[in-house]
């Protein structure tokens, strides 16, 4: 298919662009296969380049011959284009609609994007499972790498290489895979060096109504327990939901078959409930007219912060079981690709200082989200303005990022990165020139040959010039476990994401700059004092030598 077929009018002059907090810009609008470009053709005015894939929904209006297109983006921005001429306007609108909803992944921009920067390190090879395993292997010999899923035959949503208990062979793993939802047998998610305890994750056990059991499954997870110690299974669903799942062949671990495990049910919402929550929240944030009571009641009704609290609480609970109780943990919900990953990754943010560094956080995203098979393609297909309401669309990853932001706010010095990294990840998960977030799992990515045909996000981010934007000037390595407060009074609306386009952040940005200046100045002065001290000391020794020859 040629993009040209979809572009009926490639260029319109005298288009006026309206954006919040910017003066209107008049210029020429161009449509390309992947971008909507507006250029005023003046040197000092910024051009607008908008990826079609970032467009969530459009509205059109006509007043006489003047057409107006309102473009609502997946990053929640809303812009308005005034286009002279009804036909041009209609053409542009239908082209945008077609181009922003292309079905085929291989037509997406990452397959066409040619980087203008020098690749220092290929991001596709930055985070290999073997390397991750090496970090553990010095501390433990109880775990091994398994290549059982090499051809994605055992579990289509798992990566080719997983970490499993040494005592369990590949044959047993194949059997366990038939007992777990989607073939997602329990694998290692996190190894806590402090006490050798682990977090594992999996899909739900397929017990069904007749209480099926699987000896290999029991053996696998028991292999992680120390003699006489109990472990915890955290089911992210409430008990009744887990019980209902049995009717569809799913279920939960029966006490009788897992006597050494204590099961805890939490209730983290999934799917469209989260999507609706996002839609309501963004709606409330965009409405500037309502009064105080209405704002508070809409904020409450969106339930967004309730979801945040629930996810954070469950992650804290997992971290607590591991670190305080010294117990191993298995976490799963239904598929083990959504709430499960939220909990396992947040628990690591709390427990593991490395995951609070830039590299470590990227590794965490790579390991616990991309390789672990979070279906990004489905979940991030649409955002807050969508009308389609597909069941598989859900801001699961955004909720995770929001939770990280909440912890970052409470421990502003313990993270090597700042809020910008989280915002950047949110943007790229929904629309990007990089291939990293394409596809739903490693198997799909492999088939799409993303490594050969697209650029990795990490290749771009991990260059010094980019990294400096994401560095937290307050960072000071904190090797401790960080326990956030999950009280409603301590949780806040993530303004950097949700109010980003609704208010000017000029004064806040200036204050941030001033803070950076103070920190930089401090470093400068300390360096200077050190040099002067040394100089003085040298002079004093010289004097001493002169004095007593």
């Amino acid at each position: 298919m040629e993009f040209a077929e979809l572009i009926k009018t490639p260029r319109v002059d005298n288009v006026v662009l309206h954006r919040p907090f910017y003066p209107a810009v008049e210029g020429t609008l161009c449509l390309t296969g992947h971008h909507l470009i507006l250029s005023s053709r003046q040197d000092n005015t910024e051009e607008l380049w908008l990826l079609h894939s970032n467009i969530d929904a459009i509205d059109k209006r006509f007043v006489g011959p003047l057409g107006t297109i309102i473009i609502k983006c997946k990053d929640f921005r809303i812009i308005q284009l005034d286009i002279p001429g009804m036909e041009e306007c209609l053409n542009i609108a239908s082209s945008i609609e077609a181009l922003s909803t292309l079905d085929s992944i291989t037509l997406m921009y990452p397959f066409f994007y040619r980087p203008m920067f020098e690749v220092i390190e290929d991001g596709w090879h930055s985070f290999l499972p073997e390397q991750e395993f090496e970090l553990y292997s010095s501390a433990t010999s109880e775990w091994r790498l398994s290549y059982v899923n090499k051809e994605f035959a055992v579990c289509p949503s798992y990566p080719p290489i997983v970490i499993v208990p040494k005592a369990i062979d590949d044959e047993a793993l194949r059997k366990v895979a038939t007992f777990r939802h989607g073939g997602r047998f329990p694998v290692l998610s996190y190894y806590h060096k402090k006490n050798g305890m682990v977090i594992m994750r999996s899909g739900q056990p397929l017990t069904g109504t007749n209480g099926r059991r699987c000896k290999e499954d029991e053996k696998l997870i028991n292999a992680t327990l120390r003699a006489g110690k109990r472990g915890y299974i955290i089911d992210t669903r409430p008990l009744n939901v887990a019980q209902q799942a049995r009717a569809k062949g799913g279920g939960f671990e029966q006490e009788a078959h897992y006597p050494q495990w204590r099961r805890i049910h939490k209730s983290i919402e999934r799917y469209h409930i989260l999507q609706e929550s996002l839609i309501k929240l963004v709606e409330a944030c965009n409405d500037q007219t309502h009064n105080m009571d209405r704002w508070l009641s809409r904020l409450e009704a969106s339930n967004w912060l309730t979801h945040i609290k629930e996810i954070l609480t469950t992650a804290c609970l997992a971290a607590q079981c591991l670190d305080r109780e010294g117990a191993s943990i298995l976490i799963h919900g239904t598929e083990g690709t959504d709430s499960t990953l939220q909990v396992t990754s947040l628990a690591q943010i709390i427990l593991e200082p490395r995951s609070r560094t830039i590299q470590g956080f990227e590794a965490l995203i790579e390991r616990e989200w991309l390789q672990a098979g979070h279906p990004f393609q489905q979940r991030c297909a649409q955002s807050a303005y969508c009308n389609s309401k597909q069941k598989w669309e859900s801001p699961v990853f955004l909720l995770f990022l929001d939770c990280v932001w909440q912890i970052l706010r409470q421990f502003p010095c313990s993270f090597e990165f700042n809020e910008n990294l989280l915002i950047m990840l949110f943007e790229h998960a929904y629309a990007s020139q990089f291939g990293t977030f394409l596809g739903n799992n490693e198997s799909e990515r492999c088939k799409l040959k993303l490594q050969q045909k697209t650029m990795s996000l990490w290749s771009w981010v991990n260059r010094p010039s980019e990294l400096s934007k994401f560095a937290n000037p307050l960072f000071e390595a904190n090797n401790l476990v960080i326990w956030p407060s999950v009280a409603p009074q301590s949780l806040q609306l993530w303004e950097g994401i949700f109010l980003r386009w609704n208010r000017s952040s000029k004064y806040l940005d200036e204050a941030y700059e001033e803070m950076v200046n103070i920190i930089e100045y401090n470093k400068e002065l300390q360096a200077k004092v050190n040099i002067l001290r040394r100089q003085l000391a040298e002079l004093e020794t010289e004097d001493g030598m002169q004095e007593s020859p």
């Binding site: 204590r262 305080r324 421990f411 002065l525 050190n530 003085l536």
Partner: protein
């Protein structure tokens, strides 16, 4: 002292307010003439000033002892368990007596002795001089003059002696107007904007009933209008919600409490000569509820935020139900209407704050408190939106709030200047301001930028989402709810450290220079060198603070021995929360209640 029967009780437990596991600290409770003191087994002290106590409750006896719950005006809530009921009863009775002093002379301020001599004390009181403040505004001038009408508090008991009124307003007019106004509070100048020749005046409601009018009052308002020749219209802002005012509105003659001569030069309208009562005056209503509504709103807010195991949706529907943020928004909206031109950075800066406080605080402290808290909260919201525009920081606001109730200093005692003079506060008590000034390092905003002059007039955004729950005020003492590392403290310390480092650089450079000179001279005096070594300034410990739980500021940073900032920054603070973990996590506040 006659109220105190038991001065010391051992084995008392202090419960954690938000703990779900009934965690507690055990220690000893001491009762002094002015404070209730709890020292726990880690020797950590919790001081509660009797004047801060809003409510003492004795709950039903439990197996572990007798619970005593104390709610404070600074939003601290403590829950003690006293092993023996008798002790509990004694303390309860003593606190009931001590927390409600009948006579002014029993207030802490009259016994508080910070070891200042008389001249220091006098200087403290002179720190804020209203005359000076008016001078700063450029008064008196050709339109406004100092009136001696109230010199002996004859016209209005609750106004100060010195009042600024329009030059053309004669004494009979003032007297006449004051009779028409509730409690005699006739319109007087509150703030004058020199450049724009615009004034904010204030007064109380008119006693006009349905049809009555008062010619003198009308004259006075006309005079005010004329005293602002640059402006054609005068705005009368009634801070009451319209529904309370309907009957008044019907008469079209409302005069509110705040009168603003705004600059808005709209199209020409009727002139001054028009006899239509209050022509050239525009009415503006802003829905600020009265203090009783405010008090119950705050009460509701505290009930919501104080409940255990609070869910997010309960919290937000509670915030909505309490209506507190709605009131805050209303007050700010009103201020913004006023401030279209008037709110100036300067006006809200350090020095002026003080005088504002001195001049304006009146009314029974109990009645005033929510209003004042509200004022502070509005200022806080402004500081959140304009982090560089204010010279002071949040701790300053919290500290002032602390002392409106503490009665430790004379400033907030008494209802009006007259009463304060009668109480001889200046001779018998001390002023708060020198103490705040002494500690001013703690209250400086490290991000404050004097170059933000371009911000001369703040234009706050009052869309609802800008108003947030002020956790640091209402949960000041609930440490588990706060961020575990404070960016603010780090930056503040770093700023201080930078000053010291600058000094170090200078000293070192001069030493090196000296050395080089001496080397050429061939003379060497070691002692001299040593004496130039920079020494860290020893900060005196704060006199006005028993403890400052929130935003703790460490003493001055020691001289930096070329070390990394890690040595003297917040690592200690982080450790406190993270190393000692138990206090924070283990199932605090619903983090982890295990249910199967």
């Amino acid at each position: 002292m006659e109220h105190i029967r038991t001065t010391k009780v051992e084995q008392v437990k202090l419960l954690d307010r938000f703990s779900t596991s009934n965690k507690s600290l055990t220690g000893t409770l001491y009762l002094t003439a002015t404070h209730l003191l709890f020292i726990d087994s880690h020797q950590k002290e919790t001081w509660i000033l009797h004047h801060h106590i809003a409510l003492v409750e004795k709950l039903a006896l439990t197996t572990s002892g007798c619970p005593l719950v104390i709610q404070c005006k600074n939003f601290r809530i403590v829950h003690f368990i006293v092993p023996r009921e008798r002790d509990c009863h004694d303390i309860y009775n003593s606190l009931l007596q001590l927390s409600k002093q009948a006579k002014y002379e029993d207030l802490y301020a009259f016994s508080y002795n910070p070891k200042q001599n008389d001249s220091e004390r006098l200087r403290g009181w002179q720190l804020v001089d209203l005359t000076e403040e008016y001078k700063r505004m450029g008064l008196p001038n050709s339109n406004w003059q100092l009136s001696d009408a109230n010199r002996d508090y004859k016209i209005c008991e609750t106004y100060p002696r010195e009042l600024y009124v329009p030059r053309i307003a004669s004494k009979p007019i003032i007297v006449g107007s004051s009779k028409f106004r509730s409690k005699g509070r006739f319109p007087v100048l509150s703030y004058y904007h020199q450049n724009k020749e615009a004034a904010i005046c204030r007064c109380s409601q008119p006693l006009s009933g349905f049809s009555a009018r008062c010619l003198e009052d009308e004259h006075l308002l006309q005079a005010i209008s004329k005293a602002n020749p640059a402006n054609r219209y005068m705005y009368v802002m009634d801070t009451r919600p319209r529904h309370r005012m309907q009957s008044w509105w019907a008469t079209q003659k409302d005069i509110g409490r705040i009168i603003l001569n705004a600059m808005a030069n709209r199209a020409a309208g009727k002139g001054y000569e028009n006899e239509d009562n209050y022509s050239n005056i525009r009415f503006q209503f802003v829905g600020i509820e009265n203090i009783h509504v405010m008090r119950s709103s705050l009460q509701k807010l505290l009930e919501v935020s104080g409940s255990r195991g609070l869910s997010v949706s309960d919290f937000y529907s509670g915030l909505e139900g309490a209506g507190w943020l709605r009131h805050i928004k209303a007050v700010t909206d009103a201020a913004i209407f006023l401030a279209k031109v008037l709110i100036e950075k300067d006006w809200i800066s350090f020095g002026h704050k003080y005088s504002d406080r001195c001049g304006h605080l009146d009314g029974d402290p109990k009645e005033v408190s929510p209003v004042f808290t509200q004022f502070l909260e509005c200022v806080w919201h402004l500081t959140e939106q304009f982090p560089q525009a204010f010279e002071f920081n949040e701790a300053f606001l919290l500290q002032i709030h602390e002392h409106i109730h503490s009665c430790q200093f004379g400033n907030f005692i008494g209802n009006c200047q007259k009463e304060r003079e009668e109480l001889k506060l200046k001779e018998k008590t001390y002023s708060l301001w020198p103490f705040l000034l002494h500690d001013q390092k703690k209250y400086f905003n490290p991000l404050y930028s004097s170059t933000s002059q371009k911000l001369a007039v703040l234009e706050p955004n009052t869309v609802s989402f800008n108003f947030k729950f002020w956790r640091n005020m209402y949960h000041q003492f609930d440490r588990t709810l706060h961020p575990r590392q404070s960016v603010f403290n780090i930056i503040m310390n770093m700023n201080e450290q930078n000053k010291q480092l600058q000094k170090d650089v200078k000293d070192l450079e001069s030493q090196i220079k000296q050395h080089k000179n001496k080397q050429t001279d061939g003379v060497l005096t070691k002692e001299l060198l040593n004496s130039v070594r920079p020494e860290s300034p020893a900060l005196k410990t704060s006199l006005c603070l028993k403890e400052q739980t929130l935003l703790p500021v460490k003493d001055a940073l020691r001289t930096v021995e070329g070390s990394s900032p890690a040595d003297n920054r917040y690592s200690e603070y982080a450790d406190e929360f993270s190393k000692a973990e138990p206090a924070v996590v283990s199932s605090e506040y619903g983090v982890a209640r295990m249910t199967c």
